[in-house]
């Protein structure tokens, strides 16, 4: 009786959420494939062109550059992210004063809009009005200062650094949870055997955290290959295309040039690459479970 009555509410309870999801997520998702197989004109007409957009991508130097920059962004950002994130997470798990304060400051940028952080750093990098170059000049390193975002050599790393600066709090929290779960008796045994903290870190903690690090690495790759906001706001893809990533290129092609079909094809290819990269990484980095 009560089960039967319960069954009657299933549909009405699910319906509002299902309608939203269908209209603004599932339908657009299915529509992508159709769009990527057609050619759009500025007037909004489209015609079916089969795989023409995909074959055009193969020889498009702009897309190739954007892919290269996307990989570079992922690699540079990863190098800037993981060592400090691990170091901070380790430090937070030592008995320290002011842990709450440090956690607050490190996580605070995460709650800010990417727009705010990107604008803020665009100015911090400014050669005369910013913080970095004037500070370098002050301590006598003025010769090494450059126009960070205006130089094709440093623009991409500078944007990657800003992205990491904002997001590092999340990774620190995840890693620090990993450090907390480390078996205390194993660490104690190591200390009793006379291993220093340095030795413990490399020979005990890092191997035990391997699986977590692998998951976080894949997560970073998935996230950074979709980079958009920081690049778009800080450099707009410039100078000379040196920071153009797939996200910004797609946006430009779709919104500025109304080439919806071509841009959709770029997106589909990027997702395919993403899936392939994560599958390969998961396979390569997977190792037999360690027993302790």
């Amino acid at each position: 009786m009560h089960r039967l009555a319960q069954r009657r509410i299933i549909l009405p309870f699910l319906l509002p959420a299902a309608v939203l999801l269908a209209l603004f997520f599932l339908y657009p998702l299915v529509r992508t494939v159709g769009i990527s197989l057609s050619d759009w004109t500025r007037t909004g007409n489209s015609r079916f062109v089969g795989g023409a957009n995909y074959t055009a991508l193969l020889t498009d130097p702009e897309y190739r550059t954007a892919l290269k920059n996307t990989f570079a962004f992922t690699f540079i950002g990863g190098c800037l992210l993981f060592p400090p994130a691990v170091a901070i997470a380790w430090a937070l798990n030592q008995p320290i004063r002011g842990e709450k304060f440090f956690r607050f400051v490190i996580f605070a940028p995460v709650v800010l809009s990417a727009a705010v952080v990107a604008l803020m750093w665009k100015f911090i990098y400014h050669p005369t009005l910013g913080l970095i170059s004037p500070a370098m000049a002050e301590v006598g390193l003025g010769g090494m200062a450059r126009e960070w975002l205006g130089d094709p050599l440093t623009a991409l790393p500078a944007v990657a650094f800003t992205t990491v600066w904002q997001g590092i709090g999340i990774w620190v929290v995840l890693l620090s949870a990993g450090f907390e779960r480390l078996p205390r008796d194993v660490l104690e045994a190591g200390r009793v055997d006379g291993a220093g903290e340095w030795r413990l870190f490399w020979s005990v903690m890092m191997p035990l955290l391997y699986d977590l690090l692998r998951i976080l690495l894949v997560l970073w790759i998935v996230q950074s290959m979709q980079a958009f906001a920081f690049v778009y706001i800080m450099t707009g893809g410039g100078p000379f295309g040196s920071t153009e990533v797939v996200g910004t290129l797609m946006y430009r092609i779709a919104i500025d040039q109304t080439e919806f079909g071509y841009a959709a094809a770029m997106g589909v290819v990027l997702v395919a690459i993403l899936l392939a990269v994560t599958a390969i990484l998961n396979k390569v980095l997977k190792r037999d479970d360690l027993e302790y």
Binding site: A5, L14, L20, T32, A91, R103, A114, F123, I170, I233
Partner: protein, 279 residues
């Protein structure tokens, strides 16, 4: 042991101190510039403290630079989208988590799929779909999109929470003669408080900060939310000379979320971290 201990203590504070200092310095610098005049910003060194505190920059940003209007749009859009998303997902999560029917698993999987598909594939069709509905460049369109993109995470958290409640709740309510809808509203919803609080906080933060969909879907300055309006202001500052207003705008945008974070540090940290793991 003791020298080793001291040495690694020094290292800890060095690591944490550097990072905390860089973050604090960046915030302090923005605050400082937002209180200077444009001449001071150009003429003094970045770490020189503002001579007088020019709070009129904030008034300028609020009225002349339209930050007030953006703020209003952000408040309306984020709150509407958050409420819509949370209410709708509370109803949807209930049968998925607590009423056994044939498609429970499949329905949940479809909702959670939203956590895994990157926005890259959906922004173009979403743009066209909203155009078809006449919702392009409207705040309602943005609200519907934000609410939809809040759903997967909300439903993920709420179903998990609902499953932890004791099984006997519904049976006891049915014994007392309460129908399933009344049971949900009177018995289940009040117990769902902490779960609802955490999805509300996280949805609000995400909606308040969202930039990409706002950029794609909103074009009229009068409908822009803060992140988008601020970006426009930044573009204008590139060619103009009104920097301090932009800095005041940044503080106005950042302050509400920093306050939320300061008050609810634990929930925010936990929620955003869980949100990141969704991939």
């Amino acid at each position: 042991m003791s020298t080793d201990g001291r040495r690694h203590h020094l290292l800890i504070y060095l690591v944490l101190g550097t990072i905390a200092f860089s973050a604090a310095a960046a915030f302090a610098w923005v605050l400082n510039v937002s209180l200077k005049t444009n001449q001071e910003f150009l003429g003094t060194r970045p770490w020189t403290i503002a001579e007088d505190f020019h709070f009129e920059n904030y008034l300028n940003a609020w009225t002349n630079a339209d930050v007030g209007a953006y703020f209003g749009n952000s408040v309306v859009v984020s709150i509407s989208a958050t409420v819509l998303g949370v209410v709708v997902s509370a109803f949807a999560a209930y049968p998925i988590a607590r009423i056994p029917f044939r498609a429970n698993g499949a329905v949940l999987a479809i909702f959670l799929m939203g956590l895994m598909v990157p926005w890259m594939v959906t922004f173009i069709p979403l743009y066209l779909t909203l155009q078809d509905f006449g919702l392009l460049d409207t705040r309602i369109g943005l609200v519907l999109v934000y609410a939809t993109y809040n759903l997967p995470f909300n439903i993920f958290v709420l179903t998990g929470f609902l499953r932890t409640l004791p099984r006997e709740l519904e049976e006891a309510a049915a014994m007392d003669g309460a129908g399933p809808t009344v049971t949900f509203v009177r018995v289940i919803l009040p117990l769902l408080g902490p779960g609802l609080a955490s999805v509300t906080i996280i949805s609000f933060l995400n909606n308040w900060n969202e930039f990409f969909y706002a950029l794609v879907l909103i074009h009229s300055p009068s409908k822009m939310t803060l992140p988008l309006g601020l970006f426009q202001l930044g573009q204008a500052a590139d060619y103009g000379t009104n920097w301090v207003t932009l800095f005041a705008g940044m503080i106005i945008t950042a302050l509400p979320v920093l306050i939320v974070f300061a008050l609810l540090q634990k929930q925010v940290t936990k929620g955003l971290t869980a949100g990141a793991l969704k991939g």
